[in-house]
């Protein structure tokens, strides 16, 4: 079966690639700058000049959303990158060495899982300056537990396989066994879970921005566009519907890619 026969994967990939292209070429495709204020055209409904309408400062919603894509995707990718990195290191240590190290790391994971993550992030961001880098790091530092558990479980089962014993027998070092033999064999499920994690991270970022402690205006993110939209919800539907839709499509397409890959890798 080729990857494209898999409809889930195909449509997921289609939207993910489309969104990534939008993010990369934001300054070329957005019709206006994201922060140009036009006082004569505030709260205009969608029209030929402003396809998605304008907000209460007269800024073009489409342009702001296109730039918002960039923010959301980069937060998603980098946060998940950090989470996966930590997950790989801690998970493979726990799985491979076992014993005390395993117990310590597992307990640490359990402790981290006890926190309601969103409130933990809220608390940390409230202490730090809420800029995009801090958001990425904080989301990354609070979402690695799933990855670590997954990798630990994979390594636990893989390290009992004969070829790992064969490697040990033939004199390979532990590091070599972990990085050259165990992790490459565990990469499938890890990628799937990372892609699903990107959707989660984007959602967390939107939520934080919506609450006003994520990405700070005037930098646009889908979350803070929504946040500004809530005061005019009754009179300007386009301000909330389009960014909401963007979040919806992004999350769903990353989930589709994740699920599709899961099926494909089997």
């Amino acid at each position: 079966m080729s990857a494209l026969d898999n409809k889930t994967l195909f449509w997921g990939l289609f939207f993910v690639i489309l969104l990534s292209l939008i993010a990369v070429f934001a300054q070329f495709i957005s019709p206006y700058a994201y922060d140009t204020i036009d006082a004569d055209n505030i709260l205009q409904p969608p029209s030929a000049g402003h396809i998605f309408g304008t907000d209460q400062l007269g800024r073009d919603v489409l342009s702001r959303m296109i730039y918002g894509t960039r923010i959301s995707l980069s937060v998603g990718f980098i946060a998940v990158g950090i989470a996966t990195f930590i997950g790989i290191i801690l998970g493979s240590m726990a799985g491979f060495y076992g014993g005390f190290i395993d117990r310590a790391i597992t307990i640490f994971i359990d402790i981290m899982l006890c926190f309601p993550v969103f409130f933990l992030i809220l608390a940390i961001v409230a202490l730090l300056e809420p800029n995009i880098y801090n958001i990425m790091i904080v989301i990354g530092l609070t979402s690695w537990m799933g990855q670590a558990r997954l990798i630990r479980a994979e390594i636990l089962s893989l390290k009992e396989r004969d070829f790992i014993l064969a490697e040990k027998v033939l004199g390979a070092s532990n590091q070599r066994i972990i990085f050259f033999h165990l992790l490459p064999n565990a990469v499938g499920p890890v990628i799937v879970s990372a892609i699903l994690g990107i959707a989660g991270a984007i959602l967390v970022e939107s939520g934080l921005s919506f609450l006003g402690i994520g990405i700070q205006p005037p930098t646009p993110s889908w979350g803070n566009i929504l946040s500004e939209a809530k005061s005019t919800l009754g009179i300007a539907w386009w301000l909330s519907v389009f960014p909401g839709l963007a979040i919806f499509i992004t999350i769903i397409s990353y989930n589709l890619v994740g699920e599709g890959l899961k099926k494909y890798l089997r």
């Binding site: 070829f163 033939l170 004199g171 050259f180 064999n185």
Partner: protein, 321 residues
């Protein structure tokens, strides 16, 4: 044969700890192996063959531990706690080949890549040269044309070819000793003979000593120089291969030989040894074979026999004359 002794294990004891119980997987094992010798270790499943071999380079699972004993390899003591030293010995001087070669190869890398890893790990040879070395090794195990097999993945090869690849990997850094743990048990008879011939060839050409673990007594007559019979973690008979096969002394060895299918018995059921394999956690007093032994005497129930010389180079642990 008066050549040098390559490996000497004395009073080797390996115990498995499980919850509160302790199992003596290997008990007072004394083993000698000369250079260029092929030694076969024979015994039923669970009699400690694999455990004793894994003990040699301390590759035991976490629950098992060497509690006593000394291992001299090539005149030097193998320190069981010195992981660095052990790693240099494993693969470079003592290599292993296991039963299921297909499972022993990493499915993600081609056979050649995996053999090349041996050179990278042990000899620090730059990758350009190492490819030629890998091709040489592949040729030496009769995987020809080597260039073609280099890029094959384990799932593209048959069990026998994978076993050859495994052997290639094991002999890549020219070890002195190859421990083959039932390398042919999952192969058909023809492939089995080919692998045995290959091992014999390597034994002659590379001066490779081989410890060959098997429970198939019929294949070793023309293969092994010496035989060790194990039962319940203990060596119960050892000596020259031909001598033991012709003149077995221990009832267990006799029983094993009787279990072989023979032409003249073709209408009868195969013989089996009465009773079950010894339960290592619940061993009888005295000789460990006594519950199954047809010639059991009073003394067998009380005291475990010591090695007794039968003839030159043939020892057995049995009170029977």
């Amino acid at each position: 044969m008066n050549s040098n002794i390559l490996l000497k294990a004395s009073k080797l004891n390996t115990r498995i700890f499980y919850k509160d119980s302790v199992v003596n997987a290997v008990c007072d094992l004394d083993l000698e192996l000369r250079e260029k010798e092929i030694l076969a270790i024979i015994g039923e499943s669970g009699c400690g063959k694999t455990m004793s071999m894994l003990s040699l380079t301390n590759l035991l699972p976490q629950s098992a531990k060497i509690t006593e004993g000394q291992i001299l390899f090539n005149g030097k003591d193998i320190e069981m706690d010195n992981e660095d030293q052990l790693r240099k010995i494993r693969g470079a001087q003592i290599s292993y080949v296991f039963q299921d070669a297909t499972a022993s190869l990493n499915p993600l890398f081609s056979v050649g890549e995996q053999i090349r890893e041996m050179f990278i790990t042990h000899e620090k040879i730059p990758s350009a040269e190492s490819k030629n070395k890998v091709l040489e090794v592949l040729e030496s195990v009769n995987l020809k044309p080597a260039e073609k097999y280099y890029s094959y993945y384990p799932h593209q090869l048959s069990g026998g070819m994978n076993q050859r690849a495994m052997i290639a990997m094991a002999i890549a850094s020219k070890p002195k000793l190859l421990i083959a743990d039932e390398p042919t048990s999952s192969l058909d008879r023809i492939t089995e003979m080919q692998i045995l011939n290959l091992l014999r060839d390597l034994n002659k050409k590379m001066n490779l000593s081989i410890i060959f673990i098997t429970h198939n007594i019929s294949i070793i007559e023309n293969f092994a120089d010496r035989i060790v019979i194990m039962y319940a973690g203990r060596i119960i008979e050892k000596g020259d291969a031909k001598e033991i096969l012709r003149n077995p002394k221990h009832p267990y060895t006799k029983a094993l030989l009787k279990c072989l299918p023979k032409k003249e018995n073709k209408d009868k059921f195969l013989n089996t040894i009465e009773g079950n394999v010894a339960d290592l956690s619940d061993l009888p007093d005295g000789c460990k074979f006594n519950p199954r032994c047809p010639y059991v005497m009073d003394v067998c129930l009380k005291e475990e026999p010591e090695f007794k010389k039968v003839s030159e180079g043939h020892f057995t642990k049995c009170y029977l004359e």
